[in-house]
Every structure is written in C-alpha cells, then in structure tokens.
C-alpha cells in the first residue's frame, strides 16, 4: 500500500508553481489583451481580430501582451476580448472587429476610454463608471459565484496551472491523500442529489454503485460528449472553457468505480473541443495527474478522446458504446445495461459531460454546499444555452427551478413578433406553446404535464413569423435521418411521418393525416431505444399544443406564409423597375419572367426561396392561396 499522503505533497508542489504562474497572469507586469477563443468566437472571426490586434502591437512595439480566455456567456458580443491591467482589473469588450484593434490597444496602453463603447463591464476588480459584468441583466439569474463556469474569463482554458491555482485537482488530491473511500465519494454525490445532466436525470452516484459492484477488475468510465441536440451547446462550454474540470470529474469517477480507463466520446462538429480536450489530457498526463501513477498514489487512470463522425444516435449510450468498439453506432436492447456489459463487453458507465463536471465541485465542497442552489426536487445549478428569436444568444449557469419566463426576459424578450413556441430537449424533446411559459420552471418534472422534457439544456424561443410546422418538418426529418435502421417501427415510421408532414406543407393535407400520424406515433413507441420511442414526440406536440395551426395547415391555410404550398409569390408592383429587374436577376430558377412593366412569376418554377423579397421589397409580395374547398379533417 503506497503512502497516500504523497498525493497531497505532489499536489502542494504543483499548487505552489501554479499559484506563482497564475498570480503573474492575474496581475501581469504589463497589460494583456486576451482574445476569447471558443467555437462561437471563432465563427465570429476571433482569429482575424487576434491577428489585427497582434499587428497593431507589433507595429507600435506596444507594451502589451496577448493571451486567450473562453467567452463569458454573451455570444452576441463575440468576438470579444478582455484586457487585464497590472492592478488586476479585467474588462470585457465586444464585439471587437479587426478595425477596432487599434482602439483596443489604445485602451490597454493607457488611453482609457478609447474603446469605451465596446465595454461591457468588469470581469474582476472595480473601476469607476464601469459596472461589474455580473450586474449585466443577462447574468442576473446566475448565482453571484459561478460554479461550473467559475473559470470562464478568469483562466486560460489551455493552461493546467490556471486550473490548479483556482482549486483544480484539489478534490482529487484530498480524496486520494486522506483516503476518502470509493463508497464515501459515491454517497457524497447521492447526498448532493446529483443526477444525469444529459436529460435522463438518473442519480449519478447510484449509477456508479452499479459499476463499482460489477464483477471483474476491468471497468470503463465513458463520457458522453456527443451533444447532438441542435440548439444545445452546454457540453461544449465545459470542454472548451474548462477541460480539466471534465478530466477531474472522470478521474474521481474512475476512482469511485474502480475504472482504470476512460473514454470521452466527442462529436465531430466540435473540432475545437477535441483539440482542447486532447491537449488538456496530455498536460494532465505530463503533470502526473493522469496515467499509471496518479499523484504518486499508484492509482491508474487513462483517458482517451474518441471522435464521433456525425451520428446523432451515438448519443444513446449503447449506440455510443458500439461506436467506441469499432462498429456501427447502433443502439441495442437493454438489459444488459452498460454496468453489466459496456465497452469491450466489460462493465462500463456512461455519464454526460456536465454530470462529470459537477463531481469535483461536490467533492471539494460538500453535498450541503451543493444543495444551496436549486430546489428540493433538483439541487444544484445547470448550464443552459438560449437561442432563436431573441436578441441575446448565449449561455448561462442558473440554479434549477429558475422560471423559464425570467430566462426569456434576461435574453431580451422575444424579437420580431410574439412568442409562438419554445423548443426544449432537442429533436426527441418538445415543442411547447406560449401558454406553458408562465408555469415552466427549469426542473424536469415541470415539463412533464406538457408532454415535454427539459433535456440537456438547449432552449430555443420561436416567434410567430415562422409556422411551427417548419420546425415539425425539421425535427421529423432529423429523427428519420438519424434513425440507426434497426427497428422497422423507427426507420419506417419516421419516413412515413416525414412524408405526411411534407405533403401537408406542400398544401396537400388530407383528412386522414391526423389519425395516421396518431397511428404512427403509437407504433413508433414500440422501438427498442429512446431514439425511436421519443421520435414522434415533436409531431405529437404540434398536433396537440398547436392544434389550430395544424388543422389550418391541413386545410391549406398558413397565416405566416412560410409553408411552401400555401402561398404564392407575385409581382405586386411593376415599379420601381430597378427592383423588378434585380428580382428577375436574383431568382435562381428564372421564375420571374416577362418584359419590364409586364413581369410576372411563373408559379410552377418558383421555389419560394425568398431571394427576390430581399432585393425587391417594394415589388415582390406573398399572396395566400385559396384554401382547398370541402376538406374537413378527421381529428383523432
């Protein structure tokens, strides 16, 4: 038995080095400009901003350094940068375009106010006239002290020392050094009330009990980072913002379940997350935190990233396990559960990224601390991502049981129209009507009465300018496309479902469509995995919660004029001719024909892409088609 106190000694040595490095980073000798680097920032041009700032610094030989952080949560201000001054004050700016580079460098080098209009607030410290970013309305629902996102904006996510200096790996060192037993770790999680964050909400500690008790020595810890729900990017924030938090969670999990190897199954759409996770794993190995001898205690834990390749169904745990073992990512029937037969047919455990991320925090503090936030039914905080027809797209960490209405408010309210629908839980999730909003709190059981799920944390707010059937078609096609093909109910049923919805959108609704969709719904639920079982859910939500829209669509009526078959595009005015000519020119199918002054749209050729409205808003118009006479739908 090795001397376990060595874990604390090793940790203290790392910590000493980390404290020195981090102190120098927090209070740099000269100002530092940190570019926010994450998937969203990169898409918004963070690299170009970084290059431009670097060029200005070089040209001026300015007394400034450069670094990187993760975005703070307000994605609508990306690309953002932070300036940290020698006194430790850190200020957030955005959006910083390449043309703003000189102003940012000015601001950093002493011309305070040069970029005043881009300032959003203080990340740390106080400065007269600049509010704390914590006082921004968008973050008003967050606890004052962030937990899962505590390192965002305050560390370089690619720097292990920063993580350690912010108490990272302390839970591990204390767990190993004071020999917290495996059972104590699992009990602490159960006391804290930690449940699966992927959407299924199963108690994490209980799941770990199964794996710990499983026979044999070869156990595997698997992280489900295949965050495939469109509109959800919660796991991405953890992996790109604080990759070591996930590693530490898995390391604690490995200890508590006797697993020596862990896999992180990461979706292909997050290449930047793959890069950061692999780098973090390599750094942790080099520091003796991962590998054959964790912190000198003889504990063994190895981590590997497995990169997915665009199969949504690999987010189902048995599909994910199949994909790790060199085969198609097809889910199989449970039982046997992963704790009995998982990776390489050995006992395994699959948890969501965010479930793991909570673990070190709970072990480091305690279960009571964890339960300070949330409700009796669901303790703790969770990261949620918000998108859709709202001005403030971003992510925040909020306590469970927060009112969804408040979330919409801090996101700036609905934009461009009235609230029409709320999409939660991804393609297997739900489409909620506006009536539900006042009653919804961010807690799984609050969604149940609406035949809905809260899911992994993605919330999309939709206004009334687009028909809900556009989303119904999208998700129906999605679940059809992503069906693994094993169960006929799922792959066949979802094909029929999509066909019917597309036909309705084309204005060819039939009286038997509603009962047929109901039949498909009942049938598809007999599929073997959750993908099939939940696949007709959004269509069902549409039929129930948006009954009047659905019935109208069956009759060929769509007030939003966004369903292809229910409107036509017409030349409403022949003038101004420049616009009419531009419309004829932009039309990709040459559907706008005729001489100037006598232009018209050939309906059969028009694909209703909408290009002509942009170039000729005064000329082109949509006109509702007459509803089909005599069609009375049979409603089930």
């Amino acid at each position: 038995m090795p001397d376990l106190s060595i874990a604390l000694e090793r940790y203290d040595a790392l910590r000493e080095r980390a404290d020195t490095e981090y102190a120098a980073w927090r209070n740099p000798e000269r100002p530092r400009i940190d570019i926010a680097m994450d998937t969203s920032s990169l898409a918004n041009g963070a690299r170009a901003t970084g290059v431009a700032i670097h060029r200005v610094i070089t040209e001026r030989n300015a007394n400034v350094d450069m670094g990187q952080v993760h975005g703070y949560g307000m994605q609508w201000i990306h690309p953002s940068v932070q300036i940290t001054f020698p006194n430790g004050e850190t200020v957030l700016y955005g959006p910083v375009k390449p043309e703003d580079a000189a102003r940012i460098v000015d601001e950093a080098t002493g011309t305070w106010g040069a970029a005043a209009d881009l300032r959003h607030g203080m990340i740390t410290g106080t400065h007269e006239g600049v509010p704390s970013v914590r006082d921004h309305e968008f973050f008003s629902l967050e606890p004052r002290e962030r937990r899962l996102m505590r390192n965002l904006g305050l560390t370089d996510p690619e720097n292990l020392m920063h993580y350690i200096a912010r108490d990272g790996y302390r839970a591990t060192a204390r767990m190993l050094g004071r020999h917290l037993s495996e059972e104590q770790v699992r009990n602490t999680l159960n006391d804290a009330g930690l449940t699966g964050r992927g959407g299924a909400n199963f108690p994490t500690g209980v799941k770990w009990n199964f794996l710990f008790g499983a026979p044999g020595e070869e156990h595997y810890m698997v992280c489900n980072a295949d965050e495939g729900d469109p509109g959800a990017w919660v796991n991405r924030v953890v992996m790109e913002g604080d990759p070591h938090l996930l590693i530490e969670g898995m390391l604690v999990g490995g200890y508590a379940t006797k697993a020596k190897v862990g896999f992180i199954y990461l979706r292909d759409e997050y290449p930047f997350s793959v890069e950061r996770m692999e780098r973090a794993i390599a750094d942790a190995e080099a520091a003796g935190i991962l590998g054959n001898d964790v912190l000198g205690t003889g504990l063994e834990f190895h981590l590997r990233v497995i990169r997915g390749a665009g199969a949504y169904v690999c987010g189902e745990e048995t599909g994910l396990l199949s994909s790790i073992q060199d085969s198609r990512g097809m889910p199989r029937v449970k039982p046997p559960f992963p704790a009995q037969r998982g990776v390489f047919d050995k006992p395994s455990n699959v948890n969501n990224v965010e479930s793991f991320a909570n673990v070190p925090l709970i072990i480091q503090h305690n279960s009571e601390w964890y339960r300070e936030h949330g409700s009796d039914k669901q303790s703790g905080t969770k990261i949620f991502s918000f998108s859709g027809d709202i001005p403030r797209v971003g992510f925040m960490e909020i306590p469970f049981a927060t009112r969804l209405e408040d979330c919409l408010r801090v996101c700036g309210g609905i934009q461009g129209g009235q609230l029409k629908a709320i999409q939660s839980g991804g393609p297997l999730g739900s489409l909620l009507p506006p009536e539900a909003l006042p009653q919804l709190i961010l807690q799984p059981d609050s969604f149940t009465p609406w035949d809905a799920i809260m899911g992994g944390g993605g919330m999309v707010f939709c206004n009334d300018q687009t028909s809900v059937l556009v989303l119904t078609e999208m998700f129906s096609q999605f679940v059809e496309d992503e069906s693994c093909g094993r169960c006929t109910t799922c792959h066949g049923g979802n094909q029929r479902q999509t066909e019917i919805i597309r036909r309705i959108i084309d204005g060819e609704g039939r009286r038997e469509d509603d009962p047929n969709l109901a039949l498909i719904d009942r049938t598809v639920q007999f599929s073997n995995c959750v993908h099939g079982q939940f696949s007709p859910k959004i269509t069902r939500n549409t039929r129930v919660h948006f009954k009047s829209d659905f019935e109208a669509a069956l009759l060929g009526v769509d007030p939003t004029l966004t369903l292809k078959g229910m409107y036509e595009v017409v030349v409403a005015n022949q003038r101004p001719e420049e616009q009419a000519a531009a419309a004829a020119d932009i039309c990709p199918t040459a559907a706008i024909q005729g001489e100037p002054g006598r232009r018209r749209v050939v309906d059969e050729a028009c694909i209703r892409c909408g290009a002509c409205f942009e170039v000729a808003p005064d000329v082109m118009a949509k006109r509702a088609k007459a509803p089909k006479p005599g069609l009375v739908p049979v409603l089930g």
Partner: protein, 175 residues
Amino acid sequence: MPLETESKARVRALVADFRPNNGDMMAALHRVQHEFGYLSRESLEVIAEQLDMFPSILYGAASFYDEFRFEPPAQTTVRWCSGPACRLRNSNGIRDAMLATLDMEDLHEKTDDNRVGMVLGQCNGCCELAPMIWLEQHGDHGPTQTPVGHMSAARAVRMARALRDGSDLDGAVNA
C-alpha cells in the same frame, strides 16, 4: 512483401500505430480522411488489415457515419446548417436557393465539374450568427472551414453563382 502503390504505403504509415480491438477505428478513419479528403477502397483495405477486420465490415461501419466520405469531396463544400435557430430565419430558403443555383436535386450532391458540393451540417451552437453556412475547402494541407453567418437567400444565390462559375466569392459573400 508484394509491391504496393505509393498511396497505399502512405495509408499504411498513417495507421501504423492503431491496433485491433482497441477502439481505434474512428481515429483511423478520421486520420486517413483528413489526409486524403476521403476514404478510398484501397485505404479501407489497408485500415481493415491493420485493425484485423474484414473490409466489408469496416465499410459497413464507416458508411454508418455521415461524416465519412467514400469519394473525393468537391473543391468547395457548402455545409448548410440545419439547426432550429437557422430554420426560424429562412434557412430552408437558403438551402433551396443554393441547390437550384447549383442545379442539384438535394443535399449530398456535387456539381458535374466537381467544383461545388453541398452537405447537411449540424448545429454547433453559434446561433447568434443564424442563419449560417460553412464553406469547406479541401486543399493539399487538409480541409479548412470558414463559417459565414447572417446568411440570406439572395446572398446564397450570389455565393452559389460565384462558386459555380469560379468568380469572385469574397465579393458575393460581402455583397
């Protein structure tokens, strides 16, 4: 040792550190596709041998995943975001406009001259840019991806024309 083509030898070198029954398949396929742009029959044979799998089983597994290609990609691939935030802002119109301009029936097709292809992309949570697409270029040094946010149907038509005709793409992007 039988003689083999240079490309086969390159694949063999690329996958030399992968082992059978070790969860290496996805990594091997990614590495080869990154290097060559696609997975040729020849390369699948080499990978199968390395992983001790039948080539047919390997192909069956690889073809399950949307991101693995078995023919060379077009010079530029338009990856169209299919996420909900984009759909709320006419991304269906953007898709249809591009397909019509490029004379394609559906996604996952290429133009005859192999200049432009179009594929379905999944949401990666940059929804503040909705509706968006990504332009992927396949060069000698692997793929590069450029996101283009705040798309519109008219812009989509201009971009698709520029890609199709090989004319000024930047002009079309910024128009």
